[in-house]
């Protein structure tokens, strides 16, 4: 089976400067990948490169077998990429509902379904984007990406600023969706221990390169690597 995403020696960055130093990885259908690494190691840059908003230098990106390396960002979204940017970037002069309908594509994800996942959004649906609380914006960013009905969902620190109970629900929901509906996802997350139990695979980046690649279970078991690359100590409670 063709993987949903396959990158080959991907080098990209901002303008002349490269941040990614040749990343090759694949994601199969229905699987979630946790993308980990310290601050500034290129996680966001990688995901943004997939979304098409950085400068591409070398290497290739295949989405379900199709070469999308040279595609404009809006074409990539059409090809099946849904993106939750790290800074949320809610469209501030659109209402909650317009934020989602403006970019919606037909598919299983509809307004109703997003609303049932985040009832809070339904309550605030007439609010303008810039009149939402931080957490509501985060929910909207996720809901908005789902409305694209993507094959591959890119989530850049989606749990930041969310209440603990919502974090749990969100991660569980993503697990459900990927397993049940064949969507794949990449999740960037600061808290490795929180996300690893809910993902299938894991990748750690350091200075733009892959320094660990394996299943989440493997990583969770490997205290040495966790400590070395993520600075995650044993005792931290969740």
């Amino acid at each position: 089976m063709t993987p949903v995403l396959a990158t080959e020696n991907l080098v990209a960055g901002y303008g002349e400067a490269s941040v990614l130093a040749g990343i090759s990885l694949t994601i199969e259908e229905g699987r979630t990948l946790a993308l980990l690494g310290r601050n500034g190691t290129g996680k966001t840059t990688f995901v943004n490169t997939l979304a098409g908003v950085t400068t591409h230098h070398a290497g290739s990106i295949h989405l379900m077998g199709r070469d999308v390396t040279k595609l404009r960002p809006d074409r990539r979204a059409a090809a099946g990429i849904g993106w939750v940017p790290q800074e949320r970037n809610i469209f501030k002069s659109l209402t909650v509902e317009e934020n989602m309908t403006a970019i919606a594509r037909p598919g299983v994800w509809t307004l109703e379904r997003v609303y049932s996942m985040f009832p809070r959004l339904k309550e605030r649906r007439k609010n303008l984007g810039n009149q939402l609380s931080g957490g509501e914006q985060q929910m909207l960013a996720v809901g908005r990406a789902l409305m694209v009905n993507p094959k591959l969902l890119l989530l850049d620190e989606p749990t930041e600023g969310l209440a603990p109970i919502i974090v749990d629900e969100l991660l569980a929901a993503i697990q459900r969706i990927t397993q049940g509906e064949g969507m794949s996802a990449i999740i960037i997350e600061q808290k490795a221990r929180k996300v690893l139990p809910l993902t299938d695979d894991a990748v750690i980046l350091d200075r733009g390169a892959v320094v660990f690649q394996g299943t989440s279970a493997q990583l969770l078991a490997d205290e040495a690597i966790l400590g070395q690359h993520l600075g995650v100590e044993k005792g931290v409670r969740h």
Partner: protein, 286 residues
Amino acid sequence: MLTILFDGVAYGMLLFILACGLTVTLGLMNFINLAHGAFAMTGGYVTVVMMNRYGISFYWCLPAAFLITAILGLILERTLYQWLYRADHLDQVLFSIGIVFMAVAGADYFMGGQQQLINLPPELSGRMDVFGVGIGRYRLFTIVICAVLALALQLILSKTRFGSRLRAAVDDRRVAMGLGINVPVVFALTFAFGSGLAGLGGAMGAEILGLEPNFPLKFMIYFLIVVSVGGTSTVSGPFLAAMLLGVADVAGKYYVPAIGPFVIYALMIIMLILRPNGLFSRGAGR
């Protein structure tokens, strides 16, 4: 009495037609396009040339003015304007003033410096008496066209996805692209549409306001007043603002001619102090 009211409304409508293209480019695209009047002037000259040189009917001139100006807008957008969406406002001001200067000199070179006048078809000129109220035919025509336009615009922007896609693209171009909005096309179409509206406004305004190379500079202030008082995020705001200003200006000049010239400016300042973000700013209204 009612005649004054009617005249005021008609004048307001004319202001609206001229300014509504600016509502699109400035209000929706957040581009300070001071060259708006240059597009309006283009529409005016298209009409003058078609009518006076080729004798084409006024009714055909209106859509032609819209189309030709829209195409001109499209060309300029693709070649020049598109590089400036992300520039800061002062750059936009400088750039569009440059365009105005070029347009003014260009119009002078090609069309000459004198006032251009058009002669309307007989059914549009003169006036009629309706229950004792003197109603100018052309003014009535303006009101009708304007009302239709305002309604259509409002519908397009609020009821279609195009409006929200456009605003999304303005709010955050990068992310809008990343989420599947074809921003260049959305912008180009909108700009062309806004320019086309300006052209239509110019074609309709030439009769009352006159047309000469300095048109873009002379009326720039009026467009800006309408858009700033009306607010930039809706169509109904500028529409109402234009009506209000039109009526106030005409009535002020009729009843208190001594302070006539101050009325429109004073009203503008008062409105701006009371509602700094326009009549119906999206932020405050909801």
